[in-house]
Symmetry: C2
Subunit: 551 residues, 2 copies
């Protein structure tokens, strides 16, 4: 089969103005970025208030494995198939970060015959949203250190600055650094670090904001540091929320592109699904719901991370109705959960596959607790044998479809699309978490109902931080659990369907601007590193501007 | 008078497609970025080969003072006035860096009735060129540290990494840092620093490159470090020139915008004028020369920095004919050079002004050595008295015009435009520097002919570095002198017309990719800091997206 970039180059793209026209978006709301990308002014929402929303289909997956699940490919394929079946559908996705593009993955715009285009632009800079988030983030950092240097009127304790700098790059050398060395002209030396921009609270805020006003308000509430007398310092104390929001004036507007089959796609924002909520901007999904019958959206990592956060946190605050959930699995991943080593995943092994279906069933059962139709999408690979696929069908008693969107585009996702049309119901999913609960009550429910733990343990550090949150009035915020994506549990080594173990909360972090508390149940990497041979060495551009090495 | 941003908002902009049409740019070369900005594919140059170049007018200034000279305003006004007089003219300028926007200046898109628009976009992100340079720059940094961590096959000496990281922000706390702390998982600890992106060699390369091929070649030749056995490590040894060039695939294309009077403007690239060559991209100026009768371009800082580099370095390698030079001065600046304190510059003081004209005459005389017509543009301020202006005219025996472009737009620059049309000659300026000379010979000429020194002193460090350059085969590169912009000399305190002093070269730095050696004649700030009350606190955006605080 051809490479992703070869397939992309063979696609005949429509002008983005045609795509916008097909959605009846008035020209005044369309800002072209080249011929095939446009930003859609988020103010269009005001004009669409009285329109009914389309149905919202959330795509999630079983616990990820080194083999890859193809969630994005499935989302794109499903949306294309819905269009083919005569339903207007838009797919909404997150923007790729440069870190993974140069690190391992080489891109994040789908694959094969199920891509969003132009993939080179989407993977490299796109419309600059992530750079804008980085700039707003680092303006705040520069202002904090300048404040400390010039008299420190707010009495910021330099050992209690919570706001780390950000960069959109996999750069492990910036994880732990010491800044402001070289004398007083350079400021007050202190420990510091960089996080990758996808992990920035600004990214979370951009994706949660309703509009510019809400964006600025959320930014102004970010807690950046503590003072010597233990008061919290917010962005509004430094008075740069206006400048930061000004830097985001274009980034707040969703990016319209098209799939390889010329159906519309919004790609906007990209927060992590562990320390943040892990899905594209609420604004993009809201606009898409007004403009189409079916919106297919994707949440990060597995159902216990991205989907849980979407159903318990994003949907309630955005007012979304999730009408169906697609749970993506692969034969290889099931075998991995069934105990097969990474190198042997291509060999037939029905027994291991059936054993690994335990992971699928836990996620399925979890999702059903939200009172929503769940369809299993088995993403078929070349290496899957007929026997494996037959046995999968036999033992998977719940609604499921085989998907071959990578290989066949919409045609490979028609079966899934038909199941979605049949099953997506009018009623919306109901959250498991009640917003009135305390932080501990919320965690208790997630740990038992979703992560299948027997009990929850809090470290001393976590207990102290809980008191800190209570003291400062943050004990009623929604909880975002940051834990490994490699297991349903808090231990990356526990594959398949662990249960009845002790779930440990080690610390809490406050995202007061974004409006949630992060409960840390493990080491969460906020700054990845490049690998020994990074994908950057495979990327090249010829004299005519043709790029290779992206996928 | 109204604020810059108020004036900007009252302007009636034409669609950028109309501006492109007026220049006969075929649609296939026009990539719109919103309604009022477009990138012009640099490959258009191939189609314009056989067209004659227009005349090139270089705008420079006397030695800058805290009062500001208005070089950009004069450049824009002059270009608008040339258009008004029936000559097709394009102004080409550098892109503003976010550092100064949030630091002191609040913007760099001209002022008053002599602006390039849309000023909010130009000042904030624009088309993302500077972010692209930052990303390419920092990808290289991440790859260097990853290489050292993973076995260090090239034997890079971590204490001899020349390539610092970059950020487009005034952030003094990042000048001197220690990275990769926290254990071996984070790499090999070493001293490091960030420079502002305008000071990045990638920025210089972007502005010097002929095309994508040349860009990649120049990037591959950047020297990033030295090995334990004293060999130089280049980007091509790390094999990321392709990925870095891919990140710059759009940044290489010039940005077309319009002035407040709807005349075309290219704004593209922004290297410093001390440690680099200090003018917009060669590609932008080349395209502009093919598309118009008169191109007005601006070089950074005063005539001894930007103009010297333009005439001795940029023009020869780009093949430019500079047909006339505009030397901008103000009454206030002349008084400052005549010894008046900053706070008293608004008071009439003919005597000090006449004394300060010494600075003007030195720059004038210097520029005449290039065998080029020089027109003095006196940028008139409200506070200038009639007596001062009359006396200026009386004592300025060389061709000069009063300019009121800030207040009156093209009308305020008509007199200057007429002088340019009369005086711009067919012959091109001739460089003072002969490319066959040694580094020392080149510096000798500049020190004596331009900086008016009596002799040149080399520190021991500079002598050792000269040997290093010779050893590695770089002794024939062009020389870029990095010195204070506040004086013709190497001492910022020597105002007006110093002469016959000792000019000291303290060190050399190699920009092997950009193709020059920097001779350091002073402390050159490569990372500015925010001020006590940065302009960021004045910038705001309202609920409808209207921005205030930019100028």
């Amino acid at each position: 089969m051809k490479s992703d970039i070869e397939i992309a180059h063979e696609a005949k793209l429509k002008k983005i103005s045609e795509i916008a026209d097909s959605l009846n978006i008035p020209e005044k709301y369309v800002e072209p970025y080249g011929k095939y990308i446009a930003k859609i002014d988020h103010k269009i929402l005001d004009t669409l208030k009285n329109k009914n929303d389309g149905k919202l289909i959330l795509v999630t997956a079983i616990t990820p494995t080194p083999a890859g699940e193809g969630k994005t490919t499935t989302s794109i394929g499903l949306s294309m198939a819905l269009n083919k079946l005569g339903k207007n559908s838009i797919v909404t996705l997150r923007e790729p970060s440069l870190g993974p593009v140069f690190g391992i993955k080489g891109g994040a715009a789908g694959g094969g015959y199920s891509q969003v285009l132009p993939m080179e632009n989407i993977n490299l800079h796109f419309t600059g949203d992530i750079h804008a988030v980085t700039a707003a983030h680092n303006l705040l950092s520069a202002v904090i250190d300048a404040h400390i240097k010039f008299g420190n009127e707010l009495k910021i304790d330099p050992t209690k600055v919570y706001w780390k700098r950000a960069i959109d790059m996999n750069d492990r050398a910036l994880r732990n650094i010491v800044i402001a060395l070289g004398g007083s002209a350079n400021g007050h030396p202190r420990e510091e670090g960089f996080i990758i921009t996808a992990a920035s609270e600004i990214m979370a805020i951009l994706c949660l904001a309703k509009d510019l006003k809400d964006l600025k308000k959320k930014i102004s509430n970010i807690v950046v540091a503590q003072t010597y007398d233990k008061k919290l310092v917010k962005v509004k104390d430094l008075n740069v929320q206006g400048a930061m929001a000004a830097l985001l004036k274009d980034a707040i507007n969703p990016n319209l592109v098209q799939t390889i089959e010329n159906t519309p796609a919004f790609i906007h924002g990209g927060p992590f699904a562990n320390i943040a909520h892990g899905t594209n901007s609420i604004i993009a999904t809201k606009i898409a719901l007004k403009l189409s019958d079916y919106v297919v959206t994707e949440a990060g990592f597995a159902a216990d991370l991205g989907a849980e956060k979407f159903l318990d946190f994003v949907s309630p605050i955005a007012g979304f109705n999730v009408n169906a959930v697609v749970l993506v699995a692969t034969i290889k991943a099931l075998k991995y959960h069934g105990g097969v080593k990474k190198d042997e995943l291509s060999k037939e092994n029905v027994e291991a596959m059936l054993k690994g279906m335990g992971n699928l069933f836990v996620h399925y059962e979890n999702l059903k607790k939200y009172n929503v139709p769940v369809i299993v999408a088995l993403n078929v690979f070349d290496t899957d044998t007929e026997k494996e696929l037959n046995q999968f069908s036999k033992y998977c008693k719940v609604p499921h479809a085989f998907v071959r969107a990578f290989e066949k585009g919409s045609k490979g996702a028609e079966e899934l699309a038909k199941l979605i049309i049949e099953n997506a119901k009018e009623n919306c999913a109901t959250p498991l978490i009640n917003s009135n609960m305390s932080i501990k009550e919320k965690i208790e429910i997630l740990a038992k109902e979703i992560y299948r733990a027997g009990n929850v343990i809090y470290t001393d550090k976590a207990k102290a931080k809980l008191k800190f949150l209570e003291k400062h009035g943050y004990s009623n915020l929604p909880v975002i659990v940051a834990k490994t994506q490699a297991s349903i549990s808090d231990d990356p080594k526990k594959l398949n369907a662990p249960s009845d173990y002790a779930f440990t909360i080690r610390d809490f972090e406050l995202s007061a601007g974004a409006g949630f508390v992060v409960a840390l149940a493990g080491d969460i990497m906020r700054m990845p590193g490049l690998s020994r041979i990074p994908n950057a060495v495979n990327i090249d551009i010829d004299d005519d501007g043709n790029i290779v090495g992206l996928s």
